[in-house]
């Protein structure tokens, strides 16, 4: 069972000197309970067997530390290692694989072409698949129908890529699985709230199986967000969006 030390964020900023005195080899992660990007990083740390201190941020009242460590985007997740911050989940995942190369399983494949394609699919998930899924969840009527169709089109591309494999990376999960992983619990929540099925067995059987494989993997099933709380949050988000567009 991975140890995750909970720390409430400091209300006063630590001085630079004090920070240096802290154990610099200790890994720290700034996160938020519902952020899928944070979970990707946490699963990666678990794959590598890395212990870390977790700091829960209040995104409506961000800590001075977070703002100092990620001044450009002011977002979570931010990983701190040896006193230095790394931001953006994609970047953090590659960093984790490189910094702890000889710990646990590799997150990226060895072969140059496979590495390249793993990066390609991560980008695909972010730039091409996420937007229509988000749009589908936050709209209604014709706009929602169009987004739904676009989302299914992109999912079919993924389905073809997955092609019956257990994970995108093969027998064990890898970068693409971690990156797309949150969809395995987010999409069912969206389906429940909207009352519409996005991932249908007859059209996307590999993806459906993959979602199951992912959620039931030892790494993931031990660390998932609280689903009831997440569903309420998603519901509130959808309602806020629908209200704004009327």
């Amino acid at each position: 069972m991975m140890k995750r030390n909970l720390t409430t964020h400091h209300s006063a900023t630590l001085s630079a000197m004090e920070r240096q005195e802290e154990d610099e080899d200790r890994v720290k992660l700034f996160g938020f309970w519902s952020s899928p990007y944070v979970y990707k990083v946490e699963w990666a740390l678990r794959i590598k067997g890395i212990q870390y201190d977790y700091i829960e941020e209040n995104l409506e009242n961000k800590s001075d530390q977070l703002l100092e460590y990620n001044p450009v985007h002011k977002k979570v997740p931010v990983l701190i290692y040896q006193g230095k911050p790394i931001a953006e989940s994609e970047v953090i995942l590659e960093f984790i694989d490189e910094a702890w190369k000889h710990h646990g399983d590799r997150i990226l494949p060895e072969d140059p072409y496979d590495r390249a394609m793993a990066r390609f699919w991560v980008r695909f998930g972010k730039d091409t698949l996420s937007p229509p899924i988000w749009k589908w969840f936050t709209t209604q009527g014709q706009e929602q129908e169009a987004a739904y169709a676009a989302a299914v089109e992109q999912l079919q591309i993924l389905e073809k890529e997955l092609d019956g494999k257990r994970f995108f990376a093969g027998e064990k999960m890898g970068l693409v699985d971690l990156s797309l992983g949150p969809f395995s619990y987010i999409i069912p929540i969206y389906e429940e709230i909207t009352g519409v099925k996005l991932i249908k067995e007859e059209k996307l059987p590999s993806l459906l199986a993959w979602m199951d494989n992912f959620l039931n993997s030892s790494i993931v099933r031990e660390h998932l967000p609280p689903m009831d709380k997440l569903k309420l949050r998603c519901q509130a988000i959808r309602e806020a969006f629908l209200k704004n567009t009327n």
């Binding site: 040896q82 953006e88 590659e94 960093f95 490189e98 910094a99 072969d111 390249a116 390609f120 091409t128």
Partner: protein
């Protein structure tokens, strides 16, 4: 993706390299420059983006875009993916990314910044006028200020290039695109890279553009100006089109309405 045969799993680095690209695409220039910096020979094929070849559509079926690198019968799309592939597949050549894991993370972070924030902001300036453009210009300045701060007293302080004494991954990514800034200033009248406001960024860009490999890669300014004028004319002529960049495109400039092709200026 295109997989010629099972045997092509690990193509010998000596297998021929082919690049499909477009002369005005800064994403294409990134790959051309990277190949030159590494001393790798390649065959270049110019694609007409208004009439894409069957080969391009087959090699990049998901996005149908340039650049695409073909090596040992396998196709790789997306400039940032390709650049890292070049390092991985030819480890004996001059590396683009730094050796240290943290420095690599920094380079990747700012690469995303260039493509996800700065690029679209510059594209928005190019695709708009009036108040909308002014807002876009402010956005570009904010983004450049962040880079300037990193050059001045952040991760890249004291360096001639982002990669250090020599150009690296981030220089290639940022540099192949930043030459559009001067072109856009000329074409739109907006002031983007003020030498007074962004002295270090300005100096870096000047040094980058003076390199032989870069001069060989980037088209003559006249051609770029003519091209940009044409695109802007078309973008504004198709009126109503706001500065909203389509996040799915590799071309961050506002995607013109469906009728137009991706004759878009890349940053």
């Amino acid at each position: 993706m295109e997989k010629a045969t099972e045997n092509a799993k690990n193509p010998a680095p000596a297998a021929p390299v082919k690049l499909l690209g477009s002369w005005a695409s800064s994403y294409t220039h990134r790959v051309q420059l990277a190949l030159r910096l590494k001393g790798l020979e390649f065959e270049y094929k110019e694609e007409d983006l208004g009439s894409k070849s069957e080969e391009l559509l087959r090699l990049n079926p998901v996005h149908k875009k340039v650049p695409v690198l073909v090596h040992g019968g396998r196709a790789l799309p997306e400039s940032v993916v390709i650049l890292q592939y070049l390092d991985d597949a030819w480890p004996e050549t001059r590396p683009l990314l730094p050796a240290d894991a943290f420095d690599r993370a920094l380079a990747r972070f700012w690469c995303h910044f260039a493509d996800d924030k700065l690029g679209p902001a510059v594209g928005a300036v190019f695709a708009s006028t009036g108040e909308e453009q002014e807002a876009a210009v402010r956005q570009v300045h904010e983004n450049l200020a962040l880079l300037e701060a990193e050059l001045r007293d952040g991760a890249f302080r004291g360096r001639r290039f982002f990669g250090g004494d020599e150009v690296g991954f981030l220089d290639v990514v940022l540099g192949c695109g930043s030459y559009w800034l001067a072109v856009f200033e000329e074409v739109t009248g907006a002031r983007l890279v003020d030498a007074d406001a962004f002295p270090l960024f300005h100096a870096w860009l000047r040094d980058f553009e003076a390199l032989d490999d870069v001069r060989e890669t980037i088209p003559a300014v006249d051609r770029l100006l003519e091209y940009a004028r044409g695109v802007r004319h078309m973008l504004l002529g198709l009126a109503g089109a706001g500065g909203a960049a389509n996040p799915a495109d590799e071309a961050p400039v506002a995607a013109p309405p469906a009728a137009a092709t991706d004759i878009a200026v890349d940053i």
